[in-house]
């Protein structure tokens, strides 16, 4: 056989074996994935089954007449070690939706069966994802003795760990926990309004006085002021209305706009006069938020001013004014239609679009 043919045959054989090898590898990986999926599904089914078995015992604990101590001892004796995670799951799912004496019972069981200790250990030494999970557990169970460990998580580089710790501290709500959250709000530079709001809404009554006091002092940089103003708006804190009036006159237009927006969220009619003045602010962002807020506070008296704002040179002001008018009943709609008739073609299109959107929303709302 010529040497060239031998070489060609060798290459062909090598390619064939490589293709076969690759095929076998792919089939092997595919089968492994299927087996893995079956194993995971079976474990999940087993876990779900255990949860179903354990639930009645926990319901009995919560609603029964037996002393809690007796039921805890029984749970301890009857739940096998390998079902501890399922029991923890049931305790947590109930603690999330209950309060009062029933939550106290769950907290006691969580402590007595050693889950709190396990979670504190994880908070101190676990991986980030596990730390966040354990912090969530400790918060849900209001484990007050975990506060120092949760505070130490606030210096974590992981946003998930930090927010989980904040959430837990807020839920626990002891004075040291609340103070730690406020200290964090004053110093951290990586805050997200909605997530912080979600955290502190858990303890609105406890946090409101601190936020109001802080806004009164005004000792904060602009981004933090904006955050504080947003928070009192999200919390619909009516006690913050007076201090927000001051911020409607702040030198920074972004702060003024945030104050107008927060007053709209709080929906306190006493803000009417200040918002009407803000409708003539030199900054279009402030005017747009003021128009929107006047609609939210249902200020019928502002209809002529909002009608006038339909001719504002700024598009956002125009749109927000149209939307506000559409929220103010038949009188508002009539003013909107009049404004529509008097406006230029382009303005008319914008207003018509807003009205259409509003009508769709009203339809969705039933």
């Amino acid at each position: 056989m010529p040497q060239a043919d031998v070489l060609t045959a060798s290459i062909a054989m090598a390619v064939t074996y490589s293709v076969i090898g690759l095929f076998v590898l792919v089939v092997f990986m595919f089968l492994s994935l299927i087996v893995l999926r079956i194993v995971v599904a079976r474990r999940e089914r087993t876990f779900d089954g255990k949860v179903e078995e354990i639930r009645p015992a926990v319901y009995e604990l919560l609603t029964g007449d037996s002393p809690a101590g007796e039921v805890v001892a029984e749970l301890h004796a009857t739940i096998p070690m390998q079902d501890r995670r399922a029991l923890e799951y049931v305790l947590l799912e109930n603690a999330r939706v209950l309060k009062g004496r029933e939550l106290e019972i769950l907290t006691m069981v969580f402590e007595q069966l050693g889950y709190a200790d396990e979670d504190i250990t994880t908070v101190r030494h676990g991986r980030d994802i596990k730390k966040a999970e354990s912090a969530f557990h400790l918060g849900t169970m209001r484990t007050a003795r975990a506060v120092p460990y949760l505070v130490s998580l606030l210096s974590s580089s992981s946003p998930e760990v930090k927010f989980s710790a904040l959430n837990a501290l807020s839920k626990i709500g002891t004075p040291d926990a609340i103070a730690a959250v406020m200290e964090y709000l004053a110093t951290d530079n990586d805050l997200e309004t909605m997530r912080v709001a979600e955290v502190i809404l858990e303890r609105k009554q406890a946090f409101s006085p601190y936020l109001e006091e802080w806004l009164k002092r005004g000792e904060a940089d602009i981004p933090r002021l904006e955050l504080l103003i947003d928070l009192v708006g999200v919390m619909k804190d009516t006690k913050a209305v007076l201090v927000l009036f001051d911020y409607l006159a702040h030198e920074n237009p972004a702060v003024r706009a945030r104050a107008a927006s927060a007053l709209g969220s709080i929906r306190d009619i006493s803000a009417r006069d200040r918002l009407e003045i803000a409708l003539f602010d030199e900054d279009p962002g402030v005017r747009a938020e003021a128009a929107s807020a006047l609609g939210k506070v249902q200020c019928i008296e502002a209809i002529p001013l909002l009608k006038g704002s339909l001719a504002d040179p700024d598009l956002a002001v125009k749109m927000n004014s149209a939307q506000a008018l559409s929220q103010l009943g038949e009188e508002g709609y009539a003013a909107l239609e009049e404004g529509l008739a008097a406006s230029e073609d382009q303005e008319r299109r914008v207003v018509a679009e807003v009205m259409a959107v509003q009508q769709i929303r009203n339809g969705e709302g039933g």
């Binding site: 999330r96 939550l103 809404l201």
Partner: protein, 130 residues
């Protein structure tokens, strides 16, 4: 159907529905669970319950829509409803009363307190009809 008072629980979170159901059944009620507003409304029409526990946020029909449907139905408008609202949605309470709810609870709540309110509401209704 048994002689027990019937309560329809309209709640899309199974863990809440299961617990409420356990407590109310233990307190002597027959409990029917609707996992969304539409199913709850069907159960209300079929069973004419003594009371309805209505979560506000539910798929397909929300709690207010179910309340309005109950109010529009000649056989359902007298059935008392207790609204269950989420924390931070306190304006829902006022809206619920406007739509005809007789009481409300805010999540998280005490299931023992809820059972006490159910008992009081059904008791008042029985007194009114006597």
């Amino acid at each position: 159907m048994s002689d027990k008072p019937v309560v329809v629980v309209a709640e899309d979170e199974p863990q809440i529905a299961n617990l409420v159901r356990y407590k109310l059944e233990k307190s002597g009620y027959e409990v029917l669970w609707g996992k969304d507003g539409q199913r709850a409304w069907e159960l209300i029409q079929e069973s004419k319950p003594d009371l309805v526990i209505l979560d506000v946020m539910m798929p397909i029909m929300d709690g207010f829509e179910v309340l309005r449907a109950m109010h529009d139905g000649p056989e359902t408008r007298e059935i008392p409803a207790i609204m269950v609202t989420a924390r931070g949605m306190e304006e829902d309470i006022l809206k619920g009363f406007e739509e005809g709810a007789v009481d409300y609870m805010v999540k998280p709540f005490s299931v023992t307190e809820l059972a006490a309110r159910v008992k009081a509401t059904i008791g008042r209704r029985e007194q009114d009809t006597e």
